[in-house]
Amino acid sequence: MLSKYLGATRKTLKGIFVSTVMLVGVSVQAGVDENTIPLDVEKNNLHFGFIKLTDCASLVIAKEKGFFEAEGLNVKLSAQKNWVILLDNVIKGELDGAHMLAGQPIGATVGVSQKADIITAFSMDLNGNGITLATDIWEKMKPNVPKDANGKVIHPIKSDSLKPVIESWDGDFPLGMVFPVSTHNYELRYWLAAGGIHPGFYTATDPQGHTDGDVVITPNAPPLMPSYLNSRALLGYCVGEPWNQKAVFATKDGKQLGVPVVTNYEIWKNNPEKVFGVTKEWAEKYPQTHLAVLKALIRAAKWLDASEENRVEAVKILSRSHYVGAEEKVLNNSMTGTFVFERGDRVSMPDFNVFFRYKANYPFYSDCIWFLTQMRRWGQLSQDQPDSWYLETAKKIYRPDIYMEAAALLIEEENIAEEDVPKQGFDGFRPPTGEGDFIDGKVYDGKKPNDYIGSFTIRSK
């Protein structure tokens, strides 16, 4: 043995060995395919796309930890430049499927963005976004924010305290989001409107969504948002991680560049964020393959939520250059459940990124309908529709039936437990939201979308 020549004892060497395996991040799990019963897949070489964000983790883990391989799938993952190109590549068949914004399959199907029939049977994660404002704006609004006895600000921070700042603001107040049908757009508008700030409507003649707005909201590439904040092209933005934390780490004029004021967990508790989308045509052509992919993804999601160690290992894998590629310390924050608002104000948020818990992967009709209500609310959908239309549309896009089929197979294999997923025969609607679930305290019942839309004062008529 080499150890003799090195003069190291076998024990210490073993210790080093173990730590290096952890370091390389490939401690192979023995027997992921032990009790897997693979399906008769139509296509075994698959190509999926993703955007460099931490919430693509399920796809990356399914590949790196052998869950895809256990199903007999040989998967190639490629980072895509932006959401438009990603969707484009899925539509034209260059990609078999992709990590998508929850609003993308919906927007594509109802024709708000590029028109195409995209379906999803797998919700990739819950929460994970935040709204960050430039530090000087935060300092202006801070006196208006309610504080506790120790003078610490009380979270969640509502936009009421931002309202006076905007009213006295000279000129445009530019804010950034990711994409017109992204969760970020709806969350930012929801948060603003909850405090009486008008975020602007989309109309037939104004596809930018600026009509009547107190602020100007524009789509921007996530990695560029901190730089835009620095150059004052934006005064705030709503984006996923690591780009809120990046503003905390970055410095401008001796202060942190931006202050995250609210997370989307506080705007809507356990809201759906990304989904795994494929075209309807693809799903019909390769049904067994689709099931096999879902099985692997569900197991990967379960692995991600299984322990703290797994999250740490996931961060190591995600920080590789061809995946998310950001530094481990930046990814670590959100992935291991902490969030820094202001320096020194590190808050533990175990539910900041949820991949599996709370039946996160189930594609709830009520989630889909919520996005439709917001599209109607902001004028992306210009026509009022009956409640039945909302349900029919949701049924076209969200496919819990396929998810449940995959889950049933996994339960049979004993790879997941029965209580991990909703019961067979579940109608696909979350119960009406509780008092504190939305930041404005509104009750959302997916079965009555029109009542919900009608309850808002700021909405497109």
Binding site: V28, G72, K92, E94, R343
Partner: protein, 493 residues
């Protein structure tokens, strides 16, 4: 004479600084040649060292949005890491081919008899391979551990150096600030230095190989377990048929067996992460493709323009309008047109020849063809009237006049145009790859940009040098061709 031939070749390609070396080696007037070498090599070396020195100095001063500007040393290490990744990719490909060979021979044997001794011996081979892998990775891990220790020692040395009160940040009223973890907040210089030290790559090749070994070890593991599953179900089937057992159970076992058999039979495509060498190759192929399109369109068009002033007058406005259009504008419309034509089953699915290949290639052609077009037109229209008079005297027909007089006379001009076209095309290619493809150098730079850290900034700098070097090589090749076909030496380098 060989020496003279070599000198001529260097003269033709413009690599004139080799000439004194050859002359010196052949013992020709050492003093004079030595001075010549000093001048031809020494001066560029001085300029280069000045460049690197300035860069090294600036890297200590310039702040980027991701940290300090990487120094030449950091970038050099990063380029070595990129090559190491390439070697890992090669190794992975070789392992993949071995794996596929074993898999397909198992599949072949399985089709004959699932319990044959051949299969048992193949399984034994797999076990052998797995043991070999774990031995190899243990050895590598020992090396990595040593490398890691050295790396960590250097990082903590840097941390030590900067963990001093003079690097702490204080607020306006003199209170020391805390960082995220409650430790004293270091100033930007200290943070950047620590980041640089901890992001320095080490043992890239060894870690990559360990990863490949682990991946394939698990692939072999699943293959073996699939084989044993097939055998298990086969045994069940045999037992059930022997005892005349339940039809349903039999059908189920048969179905399971078939599923696993199919999995073993299925070919898996190679799915690598790609490496810098692959991207360079692909970019060169793409630019040559675009260049070929540009040449096939622009040369004939240029000849017609040169021959007919009316035609030239007619299309001149179009040329003037389209020539200055930026590649960023062309690439978007190209993407949409190409994707409109090659869609669904028509979508191109070759290894190289994909839709994205056309996007980039066509954009290169659209942006770069104008130089060749106008130069060809100029060359054709400015042919010496003497040549044309000779043609008239000889009563050459139109066809002969074109191919024996006009084109040969215009060739130096055409090549001047082509050289500019290739140069412009290479610049355009990087931009259009950034926009349009998911491969190639331009795409790689964009990906690195999105990674948003010092290490990826260093990768981008490496790519800039690569792009420059490849562009210079392409230009040298065109220059040589240009010299080769021109009548006189009046070609600018």
């Amino acid at each position: 004479m060989f020496k003279q031939k070599l000198i001529n070749a260097f003269e033709l390609s413009g690599l004139t600084w080799f000439i004194p070396i050859i002359k010196l080696l052949s013992g020709e007037n050492p003093k004079e040649q030595g001075a010549e070498i000093l001048r031809m090599l020494g001066l560029p070396i001085i300029a280069l060292s000045a460049f690197f020195f300035t860069w090294g100095y600036l890297s200590t001063k310039i702040q980027t949005s991701v940290g300090k500007l990487p120094s030449p040393v950091f970038v050099w290490n990063q380029s070595k890491a990129m090559i190491a990744n390439y070697r890992v990719e090669l190794y992975k490909k070789a392992q993949y081919e071995k794996f596929e060979a074993i898999r397909s021979s198992i599949a072949m044997q399985m089709d004959k008899n699932v319990n044959s001794p051949e299969i048992q011996s193949l399984l034994k081979d797999i076990d052998g391979v797995k043991t070999k892998f774990s031995d190899e990775s243990e050895k590598l891990n020992e090396q990595i551990a040593i490398g890691k220790e050295a790396h960590e020692a250097s990082v903590s040395a840097v941390k030590e150096k900067y963990n001093k009160p003079e690097f702490y940040v204080t607020s306006d009223d003199g209170q020391p600030l805390k960082d995220m973890d409650g430790n004293p907040q270091l100033n930007r210089e200290a943070v950047d230095e620590i980041n640089l030290a901890s992001e320095q790559k080490y043992m890239v090749y060894e870690m990559g190989i360990v990863q490949v070994l682990n991946d394939f070890s698990s692939s072999y593991g699943s293959l073996a377990s699939r084989v044993s599953k097939v055998q298990k179900y086969q045994n069940e089937i045999d037992e059930l048929t022997a005892t005349g057992g339940d039809e349903k159970k039999l059908a189920k076992a048969e179905k399971r067996k078939q599923t696993f058999l199919k999995l073993i039979r299925k070919e898996t495509a190679y799915s690598g992460n790609g490496s810098i060498i692959d991207y360079i190759k692909l970019s060169i192929i793409t630019v040559l493709f675009g260049f070929a399109i540009a040449a096939t369109v622009a040369i004939p068009l240029g000849i017609i323009c040169g021959l007919s002033t009316s035609f030239m007058t007619a299309i001149n406005p179009l040329i003037q309008v389209f020539r200055p259009v930026s590649p960023l504008a062309w690439v978007l419309i190209t993407i949409q047109i190409v994707d409109g034509i090659f869609v669904g089953d028509l979508a191109l699915e070759g290894d190289v020849f994909k839709n994205t290949f056309l996007h980039a290639g066509i954009t290169v052609a659209l942006c770069s063809m104008w130089a060749t077009l106008s130069n060809t037109a100029l060359g054709v229209s400015s042919i010496d009237t003497d040549y044309m008079n000779v043609a008239k005297v000889l009563k050459l027909n139109w066809f002969d006049r074109l191919f024996k007089i006009i084109i040969p006379a215009a060739i130096p001009f055409i090549f001047t145009g082509l050289r500019i076209t290739l140069g412009v095309g290479w610049m355009v290619l990087i931009v259009s790859e950034m926009m349009a493809t998911s491969r190639g150098l331009g795409w790689y730079i964009d990906q690195q940009y999105q990674n948003n850290k010092v290490e990826s900034l260093a990768n981008i700098i490496v790519c800039i040098f690569i792009i420059g070097l490849v562009g210079a090589c392409l230009d040298r090749i065109m220059y040589t061709l240009q010299r080769f076909v021109s009548f006189n030496d009046e070609v600018s380098a």
